[in-house]
């Protein structure tokens, strides 16, 4: 039995969909953020998989892309959490359903 590119891609896809479901369904802003992190990780798995398996003249591109992705994810997590804190400070809730300033 051998493990090929499809196996890794399937895992990445499932992880992405779980992340999407979490991000779409959670009420807590921090929960939504966790879903987004899961999706980013799923994408990273896919990138590394392609870098490992796919035919390419420059396979290191996948690794480089993942390095950037992790960097951006770190920045994104910091800013998103700061936003959540800031929203909580002003509205005293992190419930995304109740953050509806634009609704009259």
């Amino acid at each position: 039995m051998s493990i090929g590119i499809e196996h890794f891609l399937i895992v990445g896809a499932i992880l992405f969909c779980i992340g999407l479901a979490v991000a779409l369904s959670k009420r807590n802003a921090i929960g939504v953020l966790m879903g987004v992190e899961l999706m980013l990780n799923a994408v990273n798995i896919t990138l590394i998989t392609f870098s490992h398996f796919a035919v390419s003249d420059r396979p290191i591109a996948g690794h480089a892309f993942v390095a950037f992705s992790i960097t951006v994810a770190a920045a994104e997590a910091a800013v998103a959490l700061a936003l959540a804190m800031s929203v909580y400070k002003n509205r005293e809730t992190v419930d995304v359903d109740r953050i509806n300033l634009l609704k009259s």
Binding site: L15, F16, A21, A54, F68, T71
Partner: protein, 171 residues
């Protein structure tokens, strides 16, 4: 990828990653969800090692497990006890339905495509990654550093209290 070791590793890692990702979805306690998320990150790092990307795997553990999850833990602890449930919104069912549909489509595409793969994977080391980052991707690399600085400043500005702003205004 042949042999018992990689196969076993793959299934073990898949089980670990996907089960704990499901835990993020299902657990009622937000802190449990964060802990499941950490396990997911470790599982993803395991995948990277299976794909012989050790440097990325360890960076994943340092950044995700060591820093991002700690940040999330902090955010959870700073919200009051009432804000620590992990419930769903009204739009949960459509969201989950959408995710399932997407999973089906992706699975179909992945199975249907005839992937062109290499027989022997290239040897990708940390030093080759470093050379690539400073050679082909020098501009994105510098921009990432600018982004990090901007995020740092932005995060600090967002969580500043009115008193601190007043203090700075007086200066």
């Amino acid at each position: 990828m042949e042999g018992f070791g990689p196969t076993f590793g793959f299934y073990a890692m898949s089980a670990l990653t996907l089960v704990s990702a499901g835990g993020v979805m299902l657990s009622r306690n937000l802190l449990h969800a964060v802990l499941f998320l950490i396990v997911t990150f470790i599982g993803v790092a395991g995948f990277y090692i299976l794909l012989s990307a050790e440097f990325i795997a360890l960076a994943q553990i340092i950044i995700y497990v060591g820093a991002i999850s700690v940040l999330v833990l902090f955010a959870v602890l700073l919200t009051p006890r009432a804000g620590r449930d992990n419930g769903e919104t009204k739009m949960a069912l459509p969201g989950i339905f959408l995710a399932v549909c997407l999973a089906a489509v992706l699975a179909f595409v992945i199975n249907d495509t005839n992937w062109a793969t290499v027989a022997t994977s290239p040897e990708l080391t940390a030093s080759s990654l470093g050379e690539a980052l400073l050679d082909a991707w020098a501009l994105p690399f510098e921009m990432a550093s600018v982004l990090l600085t901007a995020a740092l400043v932005g995060a600090i500005m967002l969580v500043r209290t009115p008193e601190e702003e007043a203090e700075d205004a007086l200066r």
